[in-house]
């Protein structure tokens, strides 16, 4: 005689399995439909966004002072982001600033307020988008807000984005000092972005025709700061070099000499090289026992003319391959004198020097 459970149980199992199958079929179908809907939604959203950007870009190009109404209204976060993107597309390519009247119109549009309402979003991706939009709006008064956000932002990518946006909003030389203090106060998180940030800030000041004298005073203060992280000082020196702040070279050299740091000295030599200038600090360090300083000096010697050629030639005999290689490459860039030195070194008694000279000559 069958008991009830022996009859019911197999049926229950079969029913349960069918339920599981139904669940999978439905959820697979849902995923398929969801995939299609998501793809369409994404395409639609992107095309809408693109259309908004184009509309704003058109309005910006047609903008005339006294006609603030021609800028389309900003209704939501998407629109504010589109306005920011349009401003970036228009002004980044031309490397110019929006005119004051346009900035006023952007201010009056309320886009910044709309964007800031989303600053406390839980997803870091959304905060990233919000900060991007704030930076894109190009309103100089947002600098302080961006620095404030950066002080408390836990996510590294959003923090980097804040630095980018803040650096682009710099309108006064003293704000570089604010940025310098910001990265020094957040050593845990600020690694790496400093050089790019300083360069962007200097470029922003240039666009605003800031007085370079005032900038030099701020940079001097930063470099002399006793509590500053050496990494950030190094970044500042390299940024000054890459941004060709030629007038600041001598100051920079003397400050760095007084600090006596090998890394900073190497950075100053690289900065001088970026500016296309020579300085006695370079010839002093060719042949240094510290390979890092030696290589930095050799690489920077390109701008020092023919006087430095014999010094570099001697380095072809170095026991360090990287030093020899740097010397060969630099000599090949030092014109006729460098070439003559290489030809001479092809007969050197040192086989490494001969080999490296032959290689440099073959590269031409």
């Amino acid at each position: 005689m069958h008991t009830l459970d022996a009859i019911v149980f197999p049926y229950l199992v079969v029913v349960l399995l069918w339920v599981v199958i139904a669940f999978f079929v439905v959820s697979i179908a849902a995923l398929f439909v969801g995939l299609g809907i998501h793809k369409r939604h994404l395409a639609k959203r992107e095309s809408n966004y693109r259309r908004q950007i184009e509309a704003y870009a058109h309005a910006i190009s047609q903008f005339r002072e006294g006609d603030e109404t021609c800028l389309p209204s900003v209704a939501d976060l998407d629109a504010a982001c589109a306005l920011g993107a349009a401003l970036t597309e228009t002004f980044r390519a031309q490397d110019i600033l929006p005119q004051t009247a346009l900035l006023e119109a952007i201010r009056n549009s309320g886009a910044a307020t709309l964007v800031m309402a989303h600053l406390d979003a839980k997803n870091w991706g959304e905060r990233f988008r919000v900060v991007t939009a704030l930076g894109d709006l190009r309103l100089p008064e947002l600098f302080d807000k961006l620095v404030e956000i950066a002080h408390s932002e836990p996510h590294m990518s959003v923090f980097g984005n804040c630095l980018y946006a803040a650096a682009n909003s710099v309108s006064r030389p003293d704000q570089i000092r604010t940025l310098f203090d910001l990265i020094n106060s957040r050593r845990d998180i600020s690694a790496g972005y400093d050089e790019g940030m300083f360069r962007l800030a200097i470029q922003a000041l240039r666009r605003r025709d800031a007085q370079l004298e005032a900038l030099a005073a701020v940079l001097r203060l930063c470099l002399q700061s006793a509590e500053a992280d050496e990494q950030h000082l190094l970044a500042l020196v390299l940024a000054v070099g890459k941004e060709q702040l030629v007038a600041f070279k001598n100051d920079m050299v003397s400050i760095v000499r007084s600090r006596g740091s090998a890394r900073l000295t190497a950075a100053v030599m690289r900065a001088a090289h970026s500016m296309g200038l020579c300085d006695s600090i370079i010839s002093e360090h060719v042949g240094s026992t510290d390979p890092m300083l030696n290589i930095a000096a050799i690489r920077s010697a390109e701008c020092c003319g023919s006087d430095i050629v014999p010094l570099i030639g001697r380095e072809l005999r170095s026991t360090d391959f990287n030093v020899r290689y740097a010397a060969a490459v630099t000599l090949s860039k030092l014109g006729e004198n460098g070439r003559n030195e290489l030809i001479e070194r092809r007969q050197d008694s040192d086989p490494f020097a001969r080999d490296m000279a032959a290689f440099a000559l073959s590269v031409g």
Binding site: I28, L31, L35, N123
Partner: protein
């Protein structure tokens, strides 16, 4: 007699329950991992760093220079495309070291001719033991492009040679049949910039089959025609978009693909470089975990979902089985060599979550699967199978697999949407489900066999196909791009 039959029946019943449980654990783990990865990735959906912004912030002396090492053994068909793609990388400072591991074909000659290379006496510090080098060449047009010709010693040995010759603090290994996206290294290097504890990072590897490659760049992402390749795409998506994202977020990432990974060189040297095993990539990551924990170094091993390296997957069954055989041997050897980590709380989640996951799900998975198939057949022969139950169970297993594939494709579309057409995404999800009809069984058997061949260290050689089918004679050379 009756009692012994009863006990046999009980044993079989227990066995059935066990198989069912293992099935639930394996599929349940994959499902959990997929949902976990989705939860994590959705947070970053809106964060789309503009490349110009990334460049402005990162193109500086702070970006740690990278030595890209490409080990090559008989790679004459693909090597030029791989190196051409590598020379076009967008990164402040890097060198490319191609290590010709005693190739018997024209790999070396092609490199010398195409990149205009000359011999140079470049000594290396023998920090890790390798087979002797026969010569070093440098490109006359691109002084950052080097070829080291050495005697054959295997992939790990070639990578160690690259390690000895490398000058820079970060070490990037890429396969010689892969194409790296121009911005992939920048996005990976960026992670090392913002995270001081990062010691190793793996990038997303995608399947190249079916894609359009022009001028050594992937210009259109499409799914291939072959079912085999589509199945592997689904596998890659599951593995990279779900598995590695989740394991990385859970601090238990134990593998970084040999096709594309970046490591801190000082730590690699500290652990003696790559160990000579067929699973050198996983083994390296495991030993890095061990070294950092043993020496109280705060560290992070991270998977970056966006950077992309495109690689060819086997297009024939023989090459596929060969590859899976090698992977399984590598897995067994790596886990055995680093068994001290298993369930060891000292190694944190890597020891208590990552290692058991790889041991039970990845290593024992094929064994369990094989036992399941055998028992299915035996039960059927001895008439001990409830046909309705068996059929429904089989349907569930296929549907669950299909769900996992579709979820991985959806996840990929949600985050990266690389595949342009919806049709391609559907194709991968549907064709990927054919995995359960023949493919999975075949791979499970091969992996099971390879588990017992762990002493074999033979690397083997997969058939390579030209990545572009273009004649390279008139290809644009890297030094002509700037003109």
């Amino acid at each position: 007699m009756f009692l012994s039959l009863l006990s046999l029946a009980n044993t079989l019943l227990c066995f059935q329950v066990l198989v069912l449980l293992i099935f639930l654990i394996i599929n349940g783990s994959y499902t959990y991992v997929t949902i976990f990865a989705f939860q994590h990735l959705r947070k970053s959906v809106d964060a789309k760093p503009d490349l110009a912004q990334l460049l402005a912030l990162t193109k500086s002396a702070n970006m740690r220079p990278i030595s890209i090492v490409v080990p090559a053994y008989n790679e004459q068909v693909t090597i030029l495309d791989t190196v051409l793609a590598a020379t076009r990388i967008n990164y402040p400072e890097f060198e490319i070291l191609i290590v010709n591991d005693g190739s018997t074909d024209e790999t070396l000659q092609r490199l010398i001719e195409f990149f205009d290379m000359v011999p140079i006496a470049r000594p290396a510090r023998m920090l890790v033991d390798t087979t002797p080098s026969r010569g070093v060449y440098v490109s006359r047009r691109n002084p950052n492009l080097w070829v080291i010709d050495k005697e054959n010693g295997g992939k790990a040995d070639a990578l160690n040679t690259g390690l000895n010759f490398s000058r820079y603090p970060l070490f990037c290994a890429i396969d010689a049949d892969s194409i790296i996206d121009p911005d992939a290294l920048l996005r990976m290097g960026h992670q090392f910039l913002i995270n001081r504890e990062l010691i190793a990072a793996g990038g997303s590897v995608r399947v190249l089959n079916g894609c359009v490659v022009e001028d050594s760049r992937v210009t259109r992402v499409r799914s291939p025609r072959s079912i085999l390749a589509n199945i592997q795409i689904a596998e890659y998506l599951r593995s990279f978009m779900a598995g590695r994202v989740a394991l990385s977020e859970y601090d238990s990432l134990l593998i970084i693909s040999g096709a594309f990974g970046i490591f801190r060189k000082d730590l690699m040297l500290a652990i003696g470089g790559f160990r000579k095993t067929v699973g050198e990539d996983m083994d390296l990551v495991l030993r890095l975990h061990r070294y950092c924990v043993d020496h109280d170094i705060k560290y992070k091993v991270y998977f970056v979902s966006e950077p992309v390296c495109w690689t060819q997957v086997p297009s024939d069954v023989f090459s596929l089985l060969h590859q899976r055989n090698r992977w399984q041997r590598g897995l067994v050897d790596s886990i055995w060599h680093n068994r001290v980590m298993l369930f060891n709380p000292k190694y944190g989640k890597a020891g208590t979550v990552g290692m058991p996951f790889f041991l039970f799900i990845e290593l024992f998975g094929p064994l369990m699967e094989f036992i399941g198939y055998i028992s299915f057949i035996l039960f059927f022969i001895f008439n001990m199978l409830n046909p309705v139950f068996a059929l429904l169970f089989f349907m569930i297993s296929i549907l669950w697999g299909m769900w996992l594939n579709t979820a991985a494709v959806t996840l990929d579309n949600f985050v990266q949407h690389k595949y342009e057409s919806l049709f391609d995404s559907y194709k991968i999800a549907i064709l990927g489900s054919f995995e359960y009809i023949g493919y999975r069984q075949l791979v499970a058997v091969e992996r099971l066999i390879s588990t017992f061949q762990v002493t074999r260290t033979h690397w083997g050689k997969a058939e390579r196909k030209d990545l572009t089918n273009e004649d390279k004679t008139n290809a644009i050379k890297p030094w002509d791009i700037d003109k």
